[in-house]
């Protein structure tokens, strides 16, 4: 019987010491360089945001405009899981170039401490991991009121990395 031979098998000398040494070895430090980003498309441009700032991504519903809101950053309010959340026009804030109408639009709910704010994006391209060290600088013309700190990717896949804190600050300022 297998069990007989397996369970009655004598332990060779030094086996215990061998395994103890193995487990005593210090672990490799976890790669602190890697960040998970949600990559999405607004118009013709691709952006990315730290995944821990995105609470959820759902199918967009009705967005109701508010009185006296005009055509600013505030798009209106929408229902997210029974709570009514503010919906902003991220493409207006980022001045994104208009693009093709393909892809499935989604509602992205962003979080900053206790604040939640939603924005419609043209397409979600997934959650991807990048190394911080792979962040490349943007061209010299990219100065002034900008929210991207660098870019990732190669070839056709150009993804700008947004500065989440500045983004939220700007939204707060422009909404009041």
């Amino acid at each position: 019987m297998i069990t007989d031979s397996l369970l009655l098998h004598a332990i060779p000398d030094g086996l215990r010491e061998e395994w103890a040494t193995h487990f005593a070895k210090p672990l490799d430090p976890p790669s602190s360089d890697r960040i998970a980003l949600v990559v999405f498309r607004l118009g013709a441009e691709k952006f990315s945001l730290s995944a821990d700032r995105v609470e959820e991504i759902i199918t967009p519903g009705v967005i109701r405009p508010l009185p006296h809101s005009g055509k600013g950053l505030l798009r209106g309010v929408t229902n997210v899981n029974g709570r009514i959340r503010t919906c902003v026009s991220l493409e207006r804030l980022l001045n994104a170039t208009p693009g093709p109408a393909s892809g499935t639009p989604r509602l992205m709910v962003l979080q900053d401490q206790r604040w939640r704010v939603a924005a419609i994006v043209d397409e979600i391209l997934g959650v991807q991991e990048f190394h911080q060290s792979d962040l490349k600088p943007l061209p010299a013309t990219h100065t002034g009121a900008v929210y991207s700190t660098g870019w990732f990717g190669e070839g056709d896949h150009f993804v700008a990395k947004l500065n989440e804190d500045e983004l939220f600050d700007a939204m707060r300022r422009q909404l009041t």
Binding site: G61, V62, R64, P65, L66, P67, H68, S69, G70, L74, G76, V77, T78, N79, N81, G82, R83, I84, R85, T86, R114, W115, V117, M171, R172, L175, T176
Partner: protein, 749 residues
């Protein structure tokens, strides 16, 4: 997850300090309650045990988290309780209770780090006092004693039973839940209910399937009767019939099953929602403890013995208003003790119980929360107020004499109106009942006062039971659903447009014998009206201070009780908007702020900027825009005429420049379209002559010509034409489009 964020709601997210504070809070509440109970003569032994254990717990916990000051205070308090337990015969004097209550205050300040922070000297003094024997304390304090002892003891005997009973009632277990969690729970329950209630539509679809199956069978039978075919055909037909019958049975089963299931789940959804909402409710007892303490402290410092009776401690109160309720009642109690209640010797002299009573009651009455606070003091003298009002110049003596009792009482709620002549520490600064009234208003409620001279005064606060729910009228304003709270709505009406009249450009109509002004709701909210209104006009009549306004909306959508959600705080206060909510289909609805709304209306009316509400019948000018077409070719003239009249424009033609000029002078035209090559006067000269005439300097002129060279264009534009359209690149659309660009559509809307 950061400590203390407790997004999961369990205690593991809290730091040790936070846990200690939660625990200490409970123990301090036990201490306060126990001490107050002791003060009203309850059997001391059981209470002392509780008190001792509470102090002991705090001491132990404070040691673990190294809050040394708390350890010291709790320790001496524990000693006091232990030594009192060792002398079961001795009374626990009032002054000792005062001292222990001060101890709980010190502990609270130290543990919760609140201002003013107790100094080491203060704490040392407290410890010293605790060390003194009880008798020494008693003789040094100037405690006023009420005169007729027997009466007091009788009352004291009745007190403990009531106290015991109420304490056991309110001892249901309670748990802590973060307010974020609770909000999420309520939202999800609301969303769930909406979604489950929509399951009904599947019932209808199942029913439709069954109906289709039945009609299939009927058709098949008809077919079988008329069709005489082979035996195999008959067999096939029978087979088909059987299968359809089986499908019909299945469909019917599905329908029945769905019916029952959707009923159950929508029941569950509704009940879950109601339960979640009721989590927002707290027993009234939650705000009573501090009031008991207040009455005790105040009555001792003022030397006016007074006790507090509370009824309806278990009445449910929306947790959102507990704080404001407590502060309102605090205010009223201070007033009562300061002004309302007479010193005990005066009370005795008029035959009243020297110990005064303040009664607070909370109850649900006809769907409202009614809180009453009464004292058995001297009452309010309406004549005194009447004189005061006149003295302060608020109203003439003649008018004052016609005021009813209720109207006189209203003056008490004016800002700065205070009944006392001197500013006492307690009250009398005149920061008074107006604060109470504005709190009542903020809670969407009312406050009233009744009084009998010599017998006492009662204040009655009435609010909706739930602050979160509001009955609203749903309306469509320019395509956006909005909700108007019912409170200020007098009525709704469908008013045919023909029955509206205008005075100085302002629209009004008749309603119930009143003439009311009409306001377009979309204008107030600055919503673009994408659809024209239809007759009859849907009008909501709102009133404020006796004035009525007719608010014109696109449509009525019904009446609903909505669960209000406050606006995102980051947006600040948005004018005209009070809150948001969700409709039965899950989409957001805007809940309007009726005060703001009425203010906006008055502002617009005052500035004379009110837009009228009209349906899409052509109004001011049933006259279309008039275009003059000048061309020597008949074909071109008629083609251009056709293109423009199709768009509704009125067209007159002329055969050359001269004809065009004279026609222009005789008629009234909005635009001229002219060719270049014409006999007698060509287009260029025509344009020049038109521009030379000051009357036509701004008249839009367009040249339409076969000549398309650069120099031709330049010539035309230099002459004064506004546009040069080449006939070769001339698409039928473009002519009309350019005309519309210059003078707008045929009929000005």
């Amino acid at each position: 997850m950061t400590p203390g964020s407790s997004s999961s709601g369990d205690l593991s997210g809290f730091s040790m300090t936070e846990l200690f504070r939660i625990d200490a809070d409970n123990q301090l509440t036990t201490l306060s309650e126990g001490l107050l109970a002791l003060g009203s003569g309850v059997d001391a032994s059981s209470v002392l045990e509780e008190l001792m254990r509470a102090a002991h717990s705090i001491k132990g916990a404070a040691r673990i988290v190294n809050v040394d000051a708390a350890v010291g205070i709790a320790h001496v308090m524990e000693d006091v309780f232990v030594s009192a337990q060792k002398n079961p015969g001795a009374r626990f004097p009032q002054s000792r209770i005062d001292l222990m209550l001060k101890g709980t205050d010190l502990l609270r300040s130290v543990i919760f780090d609140t201002e003013p922070k107790p100094t080491a000297a203060e704490i040392a003094e407290f410890v010293r006092k605790c060390g003194l024997p009880a008798d020494a304390e008693e003789s040094s304090a100037p405690a006023p004693t009420p005169k007729p002892e027997p009466a007091k003891q009788e009352l004291a005997a009745q007190e403990p039973q009531a106290a015991e009973a109420s304490r056991s009632e309110t001892q249901t277990r309670s748990v802590r839940i973060g307010s974020d969690n609770l909000d999420r729970l309520v939202s999800l329950a609301g969303e769930n209910r909406i979604t489950l209630n929509r399951a009904n539509r599947f019932n209808k679809e199942a029913e439709e399937i069954a109906t289709v199956q039945r009609s299939l069978l009927i058709s098949l039978r008809g077919f079988a009767e008329t069709f005489a075919g082979s035996p195999q055909a008959a067999e096939h037909l029978e087979d088909i019939r059987r299968k359809i019958a089986a499908a019909e049975d299945l469909a019917e089963q599905l329908r029945l099953g769905l019916d029952e299931y959707s009923f159950q789940i929508s029941q569950l959804g509704n009940r879950l929602y109601t339960e979640a909402l009721s989590c927002r409710m707290r027993p009234f007892a939650d705000c009573v403890l501090s009031l008991k303490r207040l009455v005790r402290d105040l009555s001792r410092s003022l030397g006016k013995p007074c006790r507090l009776e509370v009824r309806g401690e278990n009445t449910e109160v929306d947790r959102d208003i507990l704080e404001r309720l407590e502060s309102t009642l605090t205010h009223l109690i201070r007033n009562a003790l300061d002004h309302g209640i007479e010193p005990s010797h005066i009370r005795d002299a008029v035959g009243k119980d020297p110990q005064a009573t303040i009664t607070i009651s909370a109850a649900h009455v006809s769907g409202r929360l009614v809180i009453r606070l009464s004292d058995d003091g001297r009452g309010i003298d309406p004549e005194y107020i009447r004189k005061e009002i006149v003295a302060r110049g608020l109203i003439s003596r003649v008018a004052a004499s016609t005021l009813t009792f209720a109207e006189v009482m209203e003056f008490l709620f004016l800002p700065g109106f205070s009944m006392s002549n001197k500013v006492t520490e307690i009250s009398g600064r005149g920061v008074g009942l107006d604060a109470v009234r504005s709190t009542a208003k903020a809670l969407r409620g009312t406050i009233r006062v009744h009084s009998t001279l010599g017998a006492g005064t009662t204040f009655e606060l009435s609010t909706p039971i739930s602050q979160a729910l509001a009955r609203c009228l749903l309306v469509d304003i320019a395509g956006t659903p909005c909700a108007l709270p019912l409170a200020r709505i007098e009525g709704v009406a469908n008013i045919p447009e023909e029955e509206t009249h205008y005075t100085e450009g302002r629209q009004h109509c008749d309603w119930n014998g009143q003439r009311i002004g009409l306001i377009n709701a979309a204008q107030v909210l600055e919503f673009e009206e994408n659809q024209p209104l239809t007759s009859p006009l849907s009008v909501v009549i709102m009133s404020e201070a006796g004035k009525q306004f007719g608010v014109v909306v696109a449509n009525f959508l019904g009446e609903e009780e909505l669960l209000l959600q406050p606006l995102d705080s980051e947006l600040g206060k948005i004018r005209d908007l009070a809150a948001t909510s969700l409709m039965a289909d899950g989409s957001p609805v805007l809940v309007l702020d009726d005060e703001d709304f009425l203010l906006s209306i008055r502002t617009l009316a005052g500035e004379g900027r009110l837009r009228v509400s009209k349906t899409d019948k052509h109004e001011d000018s049933d006259v279309a825009k008039h275009v003059l077409v000048v061309d020597d070719s008949l074909t071109v003239r008629e083609l251009e005429r056709k293109l423009l009249t199709e768009r509704g424009y009125e067209v007159t033609t002329a055969v050359d420049g001269m004809d065009g000029l004279s026609t222009l002078r005789e008629g009234k035209f909005d635009m001229v379209i002219t060719d270049v090559d014409m006999p007698r006067m060509d287009g260029i000269e025509l344009v020049e002559k038109i521009r030379a005439n000051p009357h036509f300097r701004d008249l839009p002129v367009m040249i339409v010509s076969y000549k398309d060279r650069q120099e031709d264009r330049e010539r035309g534009l230099e002459a004064g034409a506004d546009y040069y359209l080449a006939k070769s690149s001339f698409h039928s659309d473009e002519l009309a489009r350019m005309v519309e660009q210059f003078i707008g559509p045929a009929y000005q809307s």
